[in-house]
């Protein structure tokens, strides 16, 4: 079944077509999602949401030049970017609540950072490394991040990544090059301490 036939059957609300799409694309989309999320469960959830979105949007989808796979990758990337933003926001509030405490009379007291002991040795080396890589990738400018994840995690060609990112393959190469330079700098700086 080619992409066009698959889309036509999805438009007719054929669950078998959705199953075929899941079998064909879920692992490929997962590689992108894990590059953004660095968490298996979170990446699974992203991929699941993308297919539910496909099921809901299928009757309205029309592709002339862009293919179904391009649409799926774009939705995955957008969903990941939004989720990372939301997680950051949540983490910020968790950080604040870590340092704040309600006193008996209901007032909010802010504790001094020292009293909360974030002992780095509590983490396993691997977890620490994972955190550094997650921070390093999340710190990249958005386009560099997308280009890096598509080519590195999904092993995409610059041409395919360019189609998804609506840019030229040469520009993807430049973005990936800059991303790697930045990652190298960030990781070496973090691992120094």
């Amino acid at each position: 079944m080619d992409e066009n036939e698959l889309l036509n059957r999805l438009k007719q609300r054929d669950p078998k077509a959705l199953q075929t799409a899941v079998e064909k694309y879920s692992n490929l989309l997962y590689k992108v999602a894990i590059g953004f999320m660095h968490d298996k469960q979170a990446a699974d959830d992203i991929v699941q949401d993308v297919f539910i979105k496909l099921w809901q949007a299928a009757p309205k989808l029309n592709f002339d030049k862009n293919k179904l796979s391009t649409w799926l990758y774009r939705v995955t990337v957008n969903h990941c970017l939004n989720q990372v933003k939301r997680d950051k926001f949540k983490a910020l509030f968790q950080d604040i609540s870590k340092f704040t405490r309600k006193t008996d009379n209901g007032a909010i007291e802010i504790e001094i950072e020292d009293t909360i002991n974030l002992n780095p040795h509590q983490y396993t080396e691997n977890k620490e490394l994972g955190q550094i890589i997650e921070n390093a990738i999340n710190n990249l400018p958005k386009k560099q991040r997308i280009a890096f994840i598509l080519t590195k995690y999904r092993d995409m060609s610059a041409k395919q990544a360019a189609e998804i990112m609506k840019t030229s393959p040469a520009n993807v190469d430049v973005l990936v090059f800059r991303a790697k330079k930045n990652l190298q700098k960030f990781i070496l700086k973090q691992l120094k301490s």
Binding site: R13, P15, L18, Q19, V22, E23, S26, N27, L29, Y30, K31, I34, G35, H38, K40, A43, D44, V47, Q48, F51, I52, W55, Q56, N126, L129, G130, I132, I133, A136, K152, Y153, K180, K181, L183, Q184, I187, L188, L191
Partner: protein, 141 residues
């Protein structure tokens, strides 16, 4: 080769995406320079972590989970129209019933002082009430 130029290219050395000459120069440098070798090991570990993430695969039960989701959710989402339709229909039926009763009263009591124009005046009382109610319902959650 200077330490700086080695350290600037470690990531490409790991990926083997440099010209052969440069690769062997870095290789030689790393054999003799402890500082660069240490940085190389750290970056290599980080890059291997990315490789290990890449090796993981999507949940094998993903389709089962998606299937459960799409079966529980109706294909078309509920819109205001679909929610309000039965409410408006019920209102129309109630208004119709009241009108029917009013008109019925007119016919069963032919000797009442109501004339046709008056009866219309009476029944129109129901219209603004009904209209207000339906407008109000539009903003109900």
């Amino acid at each position: 080769m200077t330490c700086k130029s080695v350290q600037n290219n470690l990531i490409f050395y790991i990926e083997k995406s440099l010209p052969d000459k440069q690769l062997s120069e870095i290789e030689q440098h790393l054999k003799h320079c402890k500082v660069c070798a240490e940085k190389y090991q750290k970056l290599l570990a980080a890059y291997q972590f990315i490789e290990s993430e890449k090796q993981s695969n999507v949940n094998p039960y993903l389709w089962t989970r998606i299937q459960a989701k799409i079966q529980h959710k109706p294909a078309t989402q509920k819109t205001w129209q679909t929610v309000l339709q039965p409410v408006i229909l019920t209102l129309i039926v109630i208004i119709g019933l009241f009108l029917g009763i009013k008109l019925g009263q007119l016919y069963t009591h032919p000797h009442t002082s109501y004339n046709y124009a008056q009866s219309l005046n009476d029944t129109t009382i129901f219209y603004p009430v009904a209209d207000n109610e339906s407008e109000y319902l539009l903003f109900e959650p």
